[in-house]
Symmetry: C2
Subunit: 211 residues, 2 copies
């Protein structure tokens, strides 16, 4: 039991080290050696779990996927309706604070490495298609009268906008404060007629006519 | 004369080699050695002009900046008005064909390397702020009644959307065909009430009431 707990703690420390090197030092400094230094262990131990740079990148990308998936599912299940869920879920994909800024750096680093790497790119495509399908489902629920084509087009506009602003804000946080990102999201949701109903959001109990 | 022409041709070949390695092989394979192989010269010759990896990255980013600036200025000067210019200029920033897909890969590679590199990030921020200022100027001209705040918010929505879709399409061209990107751009311009006037675009001479 003790050895198994040790191994698990060691695995956690290695996992955190992979993330922090990529998120804080960047793709150019992501090496087995840097991960070993961050975890306070030998390069041999790192290589036992992550035999190469690709394995480090895949691990960071999967951590990102798990973190955002759990957050997004929690936001969806606690939202007042599809429009509120859509806004909350798009919002968490922007770079609004240190955590989401780190996530954007990991995303960009993985993507830059993957875009010309056949082994890595499938991971990106699979996750990105699931993300797109989720947003399309929410847009369709928020605007049930729309054609599937319009749903797909507007969903694409929204996911690429939040993706782009996360990259911009990660690279230049001073020029893209969180308030500007949120104002942009609200302007786009309003322009596409997908903004959450403010009454329903703020105080559902005062709207007896709603279900 | 001949030696100077040779040097210039050699400089061109090196410059093309830096671009093609980053755009076709990706950030992970961008090295002085790879550039020398692509240019068919010695690593010593490459290092004479580009002493390190940072210099290679800066060069590729500046090539990208020059190419897109020239294209954008040509599009703006030949456009039928600010709305047509806005659409044409945003359109060229998406990944619609092999050339713009390569540009997106270079952009992503540079950004991923720069985001944690104090020496490189200033280049990104300067170019990105100029880009944002250009789109704000066009949005303001296209919607002169808007407040500066609304101009800035909508300009940000449009530039981040085209930025995001370029990244998505570069990484998964089959899932993001050019027609879907253009439909998305038109949907966003229409939603924000910035779509070009189709009559004015198609045949300005049939609109005698316009200046």
């Amino acid at each position: 039991m003790a050895r198994s707990a040790d191994r698990s703690a060691q695995g956690e420390a290695l996992s955190r080290a992979v993330w922090s090197v990529l998120a804080e030092q960047g793709l150019e400094r992501l090496t087995v050696r840097a991960v070993a230094a961050a975890a306070g262990c030998t390069t041999g131990l790192v290589m036992h779990r992550f035999p190469n740079r690709q394995a480090l990148l895949l691990h960071a990308r999967r951590l990102l996927h798990e973190t955002t998936r759990a957050r997004v599912e929690s936001l969806e299940s606690s939202a007042a309706g599809p429009r509120a869920a859509l806004r909350a879920i798009l919002r968490q994909g922007m770079a609004l604070d240190e955590q989401t800024r780190q996530e954007a750096i990991v995303w960009m680093g993985f993507l830059a490495a993957a875009v010309t790497d056949d082994d890595l790119i499938e991971e990106h495509r699979r996750n990105n298609r699931a993300w797109r399908a989720r947003i399309e489902r929410l847009v369709a629920a928020a605007a049930p009268e729309w054609t599937p084509e319009r749903v797909a087009t507007v969903a694409l506009a929204l996911i690429t906008m939040t993706e782009g602003v996360a990259a911009y804000a990660a690279a230049d946080p001073g020029a893209f404060p969180a308030a500007a990102q949120e104002a942009m999201l609200d302007a786009a949701l309003t322009a596409h007629d997908l903004a959450p109903d403010p009454h329903r959001l703020a105080s559902p109990s005062t709207c007896p006519e709603l279900p």
